[in-house]
Symmetry: C2
Subunit: 439 residues, 2 copies
Amino acid sequence: MSTKYSVPRGFRDFPPEVALFRRRIMELIEEVFERYGFDPIETPVIEYWETLKGKYGEEVESKLLYRFQDPWSEEWLALRYDLTVPLARFVASHAPTLPFKRYHIGRVWRHERPQKGRYREFWQCDADIVGSPYPEADAEVVDLVCDVMKTLGYSGFKVRLNDRRLLKGVFEEELNLSRYGEGKILEVFRVIDKLEKIGREGVEGELLKAGLSRHEAEKIMEAVDVSGNPEKTLSELESRFRGNRNVEAAVGHLQELIAASSHREDITLDLSMVRGLDYYTGPIFEVYVEEPKIGALAGGGRYDDLIERYGGPSTPSTGVSIGLERIIDAGLELGLFNLKRKTCTQVFTVSMGEKYWSYARSVAREMRREGLRVQVDLMRRNYRKQLEYCEKKGIRAIAFVGEKEASTGTVTLYFREEKKRYEQTPLKDAIQILKREAQ
Amino acid sequence: MSTKYSVPRGFRDFPPEVALFRRRIMELIEEVFERYGFDPIETPVIEYWETLKGKYGEEVESKLLYRFQDPWSEEWLALRYDLTVPLARFVASHAPTLPFKRYHIGRVWRHERPQKGRYREFWQCDADIVGSPYPEADAEVVDLVCDVMKTLGYSGFKVRLNDRRLLKGVFEEELNLSRYGEGKILEVFRVIDKLEKIGREGVEGELLKAGLSRHEAEKIMEAVDVSGNPEKTLSELESRFRGNRNVEAAVGHLQELIAASSHREDITLDLSMVRGLDYYTGPIFEVYVEEPKIGALAGGGRYDDLIERYGGPSTPSTGVSIGLERIIDAGLELGLFNLKRKTCTQVFTVSMGEKYWSYARSVAREMRREGLRVQVDLMRRNYRKQLEYCEKKGIRAIAFVGEKEASTGTVTLYFREEKKRYEQTPLKDAIQILKREAQ
């Protein structure tokens, strides 16, 4: 087959067995989101480039964002890069009642280098609380994602917690990095974000390249090294940086967050976890599993200034984004999910010859009316070929229709796996059996 | 607000009350699709331009398709224009077991002039049977869409049926239009497709402009005028065009289709209904309601050659596409749908003061564990403000939490609309009441 008739690199098709499974996972996530009182919204997959510009950081804008000119108006458009920036734009234009708790499960596009578990079109599952500045909102978001993990069958995951103001306090007041200009601290955050990818030496090297002194780079690495039990670590930071406005604000906020959370035992403080995006302003977190090592399964944090930038009033907000692909890939490796279901069809009406086509169709019609998911032969095949099809497709139940059945208004039911047979069963009874046994 | 922070022209946001409603409609459609034995697939929203090229007709390609260059590889990409061509590409690359019955509900993009009910990003709900050349497959697709209409509450809709081979037979053998070259008949179909938009005179004018003689244009309009009861009209055509290979094939196919359908009474034959897309080869149909007059709510047909064009073997196929926007807009005008639900939250735990925050949270936690959809105050508001929020958001049930409740492990339930109150109810009982009465 010619490559031009495949999907573009980094993009994917999902055949029924995968689509059914992914949908089930999304439904489970949605159910948890809704239990926490989040409602769905939808936004376009295309936004004006102006809307996305300046929100993620320079590298994202120049290397990862799908940007193109509208073929007619020549306006610059872009495919959405995440669901957070479109949410901020949505809130600024619609001014919903606050707090606005919305979830959104949808595709985003990033021009990543395609590799195992990394795609150019992938799904995010986001839940955000717009309008609350309080730590209990951050705690609810952390509890929410922990509940999602447990609902999907995960155990032994960890929430790495940090607050951008902790490092900012150290960088500004201890190292006076602000003298390098407004953007320097964000630049340092973006470098630290690469720690897992490029290692300590890589990060130190990039800090020097960014114009910092060796002393500054060392102090930064020292600050980043702090991690451990959150209550203990926070009170150490509190006494060490007494009077540092940013550190004090962060410590107080995180202490309240932890007190309000019902998943305290899953949280560790980790100052090296800074998140890559520019828009975060306060607490941030990522969710990890020990094995497999595929990076954060979910992450989020507080972004108190983002909505203002679209002309809305000051609207403190916090949220989480779950990576559908990662949470599925990790779960499959851990054996959490069952991928056996290949079709949602419950029963196939196999007709024993042309004479019974019409009766087979009326049986299917009756079963469908009762809500069963039914296929009937559309290929004029003999009954053997029909059975082969059922086997290939993994259809559990067969309703045979031949001379005896057609003349008595019955079907002969057969459950393939169980090899269980119900001879010439009146249609009404057969429907009840199928409802019970072919779910 | 600056326009650059709105959505692009022809694109839309869906706030929760609309998103919840649209999702409900999509779920109902999915349920019917699944009852007929269709399984879901997903494909990328972006395809190579090469994949879409030459499938829809020249006007679509030059005026309606969102096409752009990949910013990095400079390959030409396009946003999908429908879900049928991606399906054909999917089948050619994955070679699924036949018949392959798939459904797909998703967005497509067309650079239409935005107007009431017409958007540049909109949703299609497609179901297709890939691999069957037989009329019973077409009949199943027609029955399916009739069932969708009934499930959504529509009555009095009509299926306009035609077969491209009827007109082709007349055009080729009676008028010898083939002498104008291969593409002329497709061009004539595209002109006839504009009948509703530009009227009879408009169509005749365009036919002359396309180089046909006045006599040919008149004969075409005469052929197109045929419509009415399908059985009667088909046997008239049969005797009038005896020996015309295309007409005979079409008549036989449509007669069997109608015989196999359980919605015969909803079908009329209409030779002026030709569908705008180039890929159709046999029976085609559209679904209309008398009022409101907003064009076809759904349409589809047989496309036996499309999949081959992607290098697969000959794979006769037939399917339907339901326009989500139109079916919603028409249903709203007809009063079929209830748009009242503004949130999926069932209950809000109102705390009577700071002292009860922690108890309120533990109540919410317990309710969520039981599957209820719960919100708890995250804004540190007094109880009046919390109640105002519940009213604005349309949350049905309140669980008050104050001194008495916290000390006895109870809540006081209140149903806003019914003004029904359950004083200090043990949490377990309250949860049962909510499960019963706050769905």
